[in-house]
């Protein structure tokens, strides 16, 4: 796959585990739900590396027949000038060119059967932009990059390809509308962070009553919000400790920074909350200017919500795989 045009795009998989003591972040996709569904649609039974497009347009040409799928939100796409819908597998022919154009923006995943065959580093193909390793030469993608792909489809992919090649157009495999994540929700749920009780009553109230705007100072490391300033009851010096994607840090100016996929391994700002794992994909898809509303849930609810969603995703993937096996 040769990239002919690209906005902010990098190669990501589900991230790197086991190297936090070296200061190496987990990284990986910002929206694991869209990413996993993309891998499912192209018969990648293991989560494989994908292109994550975070801003701007993206164009690429294919030199072989490939099974691809687009997932995520905020973009539209075409293959050789014909509309290419999201959330369903599609077939490229040698010489085909793919164009992805932002509408309101968000994050889009391009999944290819067999995954993007860049070398894994420390067990992952995710791009670590700070240290410059992983992904494609440890950097963002740029025009002219030639990303190695698999040549031979496995039996399951072959069945999907046969399906797509048939003239029967209304029989195309696609995700049921109910299985497509709803990214329109404004409400982001969080569980109270370790320093939650140290914040003033007014601040804790404001967090759930006011709207917070996502600013343009947002990237894979963190989303900076703008809203009613939030303050501790008494200033305290904190000792740096582990932080994770979803951690809602409050900086000294009273504004919230939600750490995202490339969150550094440790931080020393007070944590008012932790965005629940089930809502992180929803937050990841928000764009600068979006208004967010936070609502707190107990940690038990955060946990059961995540386990429930994970269970739904696993059974959906199982059904899809069974259908084509």
């Amino acid at each position: 796959m040769r990239i002919t045009k690209t906005g902010i795009a990098s190669i990501q998989d589900l991230g790197r585990h086991g190297f936090r003591n070296m200061g190496i972040v987990q990284g990986g996709v910002m929206d694991p739900l869209a990413a996993e569904l993309g891998n499912m649609l192209v018969a990648n039974t293991d989560p494989l590396a994908q292109v994550e497009l975070a801003a701007g347009s993206f164009s690429a040409s294919f030199s072989n027949t490939q099974l691809i799928a687009l997932t995520g939100t905020g973009y539209k796409a075409s293959l050789n000038g014909l509309d290419l819908p999201f959330w369903q597998p599609a077939l490229t022919m040698p010489g085909d060119s793919l164009h992805i154009i932002p509408e309101k923006g968000g994050i889009c995943y391009l999944s290819v059967h067999g995954g993007l065959r860049v070398p894994p580093i420390l067990g992952s193909r995710s791009t670590n932009l700070v240290a410059g390793f992983g992904g494609f030469e440890g950097r963002l993608l740029k025009p002219g990059d030639d990303i190695p792909l698999a040549i031979m489809p496995d039996p399951m992919a072959n069945r999907i390809i046969r399906f797509l090649s048939s003239k029967e157009m209304n029989n195309r495999p696609r995700l049921a509308p109910s299985a497509i994540p709803d990214y329109s929700r404004q409400e982001i749920r969080f569980m109270p962070g370790h320093e939650y009780d140290s914040f003033s009553l007014n601040s804790r109230r404001a967090l759930e009553e006011e709207l917070f705007e996502l600013t343009a100072m947002s990237n894979r490391m963190g989303f900076r919000l703008k809203g009613e300033p939030i303050f501790l009851d008494t200033q305290q010096e904190l000792i740096s400790t582990a932080v994770v994607p979803g951690t809602m840090q409050v900086s000294p100016d009273g504004q919230i920074l939600v750490l995202m996929a490339d969150a550094q391994t440790a931080g020393g700002y007070p944590r008012i909350g932790q965005v629940i794992a089930a809502d992180l994909p929803l937050l990841a898809q928000k764009t600068a200017g979006s208004q967010l509303r936070f609502s707190s849930v107990p940690v038990e609810v955060a946990e059961t919500t995540w386990l429930h969603r994970e269970n739904q995703l696993r059974s959906l993937i199982k059904d899809y795989n069974l259908h084509f096996s």
Partner: protein, 239 residues
Amino acid sequence: MTRSIFPISESAITLEYGNSISIGRHRELLSLMKAIQDHPFAGFREASIAFNSLTIFFDPAEVFHHGHASPLQFAQNWLQNLVDKTPHDNSEISFTGKQHLLPVCYEADYGPDLQTLAAYQGLSAEEVIRLHTSHTYYVFMVGFSPGFPYLGILPDALDTPRKASPALSVPAGSVGIAGKQTGIYPFNTPGGWNIIGRTPMKLFNIHDSSPCLLKAGDTVRFTRIDRQTFLYLNQYEDN
């Protein structure tokens, strides 16, 4: 001694151990981390250490499938049980960290904040360099960016707050001071520490079998080198 275990997400719990920084307690945490890594539970992913805390990461789905309705509750009980069984006696812990001697060039262009820091402390630049090179520092953790070591504990005479506005790009190899800590930037990144010198040694090399030069529990001494020696030893091709 306060010791508390709490969730930081659906897939991670933190053990906070005391509310101050102590090398003795950090060594206890290191030995606890090793015990966890040697005999983890099903679904365990990794453990990471910080100044006065230890965090355990796990895959909740896998823990759930091993029959635990609440993976968080299970992990917290598991860790609490291990903490209760572990003797809290520093003398029991054998020292295993490596000792490093790191060359640093303190010339003005490598240490742009040396003069300001010296003035803030009412010292001469020479006295700051002498103090910085006359202590042995302990690596509490590696974080912020790959290979960045947090070293302590700095003598009181060098305890200096972070700069009011962070530098947009601190060159790789820069040695800095923030509060009672000293650290080294492995990459060109923004940073707010007071930069007093630069080491020619690489702290992180992804192509090495062991990418990080320094690990939590190691000790470091700095030794002063001149510009010629720096240029001769320099491992950063692009500087």
